[in-house]
């Protein structure tokens, strides 16, 4: 059960969501993406309801779990498919992927393998980069650091930090140090309720650690 009276996320914010299992992080993201309906209230994106509308899909992308991958495609085919949805031709997608070569670390592109045959970590890399195609204004990522190796986690933080300031990124994570490092604002959920809403400062990490230590 998620019970949020009101929560506004301004454009361009790097927004983090933390909380223990069952706090409602994934539920919150699923609501934003209209995957489940709210029992009461509504979700507005750019002032327009998300439910029964299609407009928000033009500028919103997400990677929550493996159901956002098409596992029978190769990574390249998957990226081209996403590109097609936004009118990006193959050359454009190719050039776009070029900048993420270090992130992929030679383990993803040109492997001639279906996504279903990749390891969990590499599948995650594919899904995350897939969410950047199409110049989205809002990017929603559930647990992006889980399953990534340490090097890739650090590279991923850099990718988020280097995004244009106009993009709104919503991230949930159990990794308190990563999330305090990249997010400007952190909301702490507990059993479906907002416990804290913090503008990140150097003391935030300690504050969160104290909270979770109980």
């Amino acid at each position: 059960m998620l019970n949020i009276p009101e929560l506004e996320i301004p454009a361009g914010q790097l927004f983090g969501l933390v909380g223990n299992n069952g706090a409602g992080k994934t539920t919150a993201f699923s609501l934003l993406l209209d995957l489940i309906p709210p029992d009461q209230g509504q979700i507005l994106s750019k002032g327009e309801p998300v439910q029964h509308r299609e407009n928000w899909k033009r500028y919103t992308t997400a990677f929550l779990d493996e159901s956002f991958l098409m596992d029978f495609l190769t990574p390249e085919e998957y990226f081209y498919f996403i590109g097609d949805l936004y009118g990006w031709g193959k050359p454009q997608v190719k050039a776009f992927l070029e900048q993420y070569q270090p992130f992929f670390n030679d383990e993803v592109l040109g492997k001639r393998k279906y996504i279903r045959d990749f390891s969990k970590g590499n599948q995650k890399k594919i899904g995350l980069i897939g969410a950047f195609i199409g110049d989205p204004e809002v990017i929603i990522l559930d647990e992006p650091f889980a399953n990534l190796d340490p090097t890739t986690q650090i590279r991923f933080k850099r990718i988020i930090e280097e995004l244009e300031s106009t993009r709104t990124v919503l991230i949930s994570s159990h990794d308190l140090s990563h999330i305090t490092e990249i997010c400007r604002r952190i909301v702490l959920l507990n059993k479906g309720k907002i416990e804290k809403d913090i503008q990140v400062s150097p003391s935030t990490l300690t504050e969160l650690e104290d909270y979770f230590a109980g």
Partner: protein, 490 residues
């Protein structure tokens, strides 16, 4: 220590989230099995009579003996294509202190309970009790039983080895079936003579015990071989299990004109080819193309009701098999489609073009039957139109009300994942309507019913854009239940 493997298997079944669905499927399957068994028992009891009728000069027992060998070979190839040997997922037990041999013994033994082993018994035993026991010598009876039961076991374990050890591509596995059908037809027409050879083989088996025992010995040898070979290959982690990628160049000029729909069609074609279950549907369609060859020259071809059903299934078999699961094929990645800029209407349109396309291809490939049997041609054309202008919409309607998650990487045979009771309630009238129209309008002239069925289909096909638009609306109201059903793994 005793490990109750059978009990765990039972628990995994009872505690599955899709239990009611599984119960319904099992009941339907059992009913279907009983129906089939009843047919086989009937055939078995009348076998001698049928043989006498068909081959008045030959000895019915020998004739039947040869035919049974044919049937058992067909059974073997069908098993290789379709029999599932999953039984128990033994991986979770590999870490526990259970001897590996015990697990493999269990796998090998539990494979005997398959439907494919029961069916031959239904055809063998009634004949054996009614005709063999009273009329033949004891030696003959013993040899007969040993030979055919041995054959069943041999088939079972050979199919088991092929499934577990060789991982044949269905393309290759389907070849023997087609070859066997070709041999049978050639034999039947008298171009080659295989049946005399099989009959001699049968007679020799009835005379010499060692010959009759060969299949049984082979089955034992295969059992031991499987035991040894599986012990070597069953480990916790599969090494090098990567499937080679099939490159597919989708003609972009053609699909480019369709915009998003074209992109989705390209993707869907990849999906069909690269998932085991959908790919086996292509082979089923291929077998269906050959099906009428069996009835060549048979008076049943003249029976109009038969023509209706034949044409319905021959042009629409793929659309039926693939279309009845419509969106369930996309269930593993449906959250992705639902949150991206993909309109559900475009998805349905892509599905329509693929299903209708399959009907067009099957229609054209089987058109020569219409040249040979000109009385069949009107049915062929009319039911093709009925499929593209009516059946497909029924499948879409079904998808809006009945969507279940499926795992498309499992094989198609005996796989009823995603199929529910609703399918039967909706598909039976779908098949009944053209037959009913035929019965009602045949009095106005032999081709009038086909004009009506074809006209209905033609109208439906012409208005596909607006019909799909309406179906989409229906689906949009059911979006959340479907999304949540697609997230439930059974």
């Amino acid at each position: 220590m005793r490990v109750p493997l059978t009990r765990y298997q039972w628990l995994s079944w009872v505690r599955s989230p899709a239990l009611t669905q599984q119960i319904v499927q099992t009941v339907i399957l059992v009913l279907f099995g009983l129906y089939l068994a009843a047919n086989l028992v009937f055939l078995s009891l009348f076998a001698t009579k049928i043989m006498k009728e068909l081959y008045p000069q030959a000895d019915p027992a020998t004739k039947l003996g040869g035919l049974l060998i044919y049937g058992f070979f067909a059974g073997l190839f069908m098993r290789i294509l379709f029999q599932k040997f999953s039984g128990l997922q033994i991986k979770p037990y590999l870490l526990l202190p259970v001897p590996k041999n015990k697990l493999i013994h269990y796998l090998l033994r539990s494979s005997l309970t398959s439907f494919f082993n029961w069916m031959p018994l239904f055809i063998l035993l009634p004949y054996f009790i009614q005709d063999v026991l009273p009329n033949q010598s004891t030696t003959y009876a013993i040899h007969f039983l040993m030979f055919y039961v041995g054959f069943v076991l041999w088939n079972n374990y050979l199919a088991f080895s092929v499934d577990k050890l060789f991982k044949l591509k269905p393309t290759i596995a389907a070849l023997p079936v087609i070859l066997l059908i070709a041999v049978y037809i050639a034999d039947h027409r008298g171009w080659i003579s295989v049946s005399p050879f099989l009959e001699r083989w049968f007679t020799a088996c009835m005379q010499h015990g060692w010959l009759a025992a060969l299949p049984l010995l082979g089955a034992v040898a295969l059992y031991v071989y499987n035991l040894k070979a599986l012990g070597r290959i069953y480990f916790l982690v599969d090494k090098n299990s990567n499937e080679p990628v099939t490159e597919m160049v989708i003609p972009s000029t053609l699909l480019g004109r369709l915009g998003y729909t074209g992109v989705l069609i390209g993707n869907e074609i990849r999906m069909i080819w690269r998932h085991k279950r959908s790919r086996s549907l292509l082979y089923i369609a291929l077998l269906m193309i050959l099906y009428p060859l069996i009835f060549m020259g048979n008076p049943v071809m003249d029976y109009a009701g038969f023509k209706v059903f034949l044409a319905l299934f021959i042009t629409g078999i793929f659309a039926l098999n693939y279309g009845q699961l419509m969106l369930s094929w996309n269930s593993p990645h449906f959250d992705f489609l639902a949150t991206r800029q993909v309109r559900i209407e475009d998805i349905f349109r892509a599905k329509y073009y693929i299903l209708a396309g399959s009907c067009v291809v099957l229609f054209l490939v089987t058109l020569p039957y219409g040249w040979v049997y000109q009385e069949y041609l009107p049915a062929h054309i009319a039911l093709f139109l009925y499929n593209i202008g009516f059946s497909i919409y029924v499948y879409m309607f079904l998808a809006a009300y009945n969507s279940k998650r499926i795992d498309p990487s499992k094989g198609a045979m005996m796989n009823y994942e995603g199929i529910s009771i609703a399918h039967f309630f909706i598909l039976l009238p779908l098949w009944g309507i053209p037959y009913l129209l035929y019965l009602v309008f045949q009095f106005l002239g032999p081709n009038v019913p086909f004009l009506i069925i074809g006209g209905l289909g033609m109208a439906g096909a012409l208005f596909h854009t607006s019909i799909i638009h309406q179906v989409t609306k229906l689906f949009e109201n059911r979006k959340y239940p479907i999304l949540s059903a697609f997230r439930k793994k059974s």
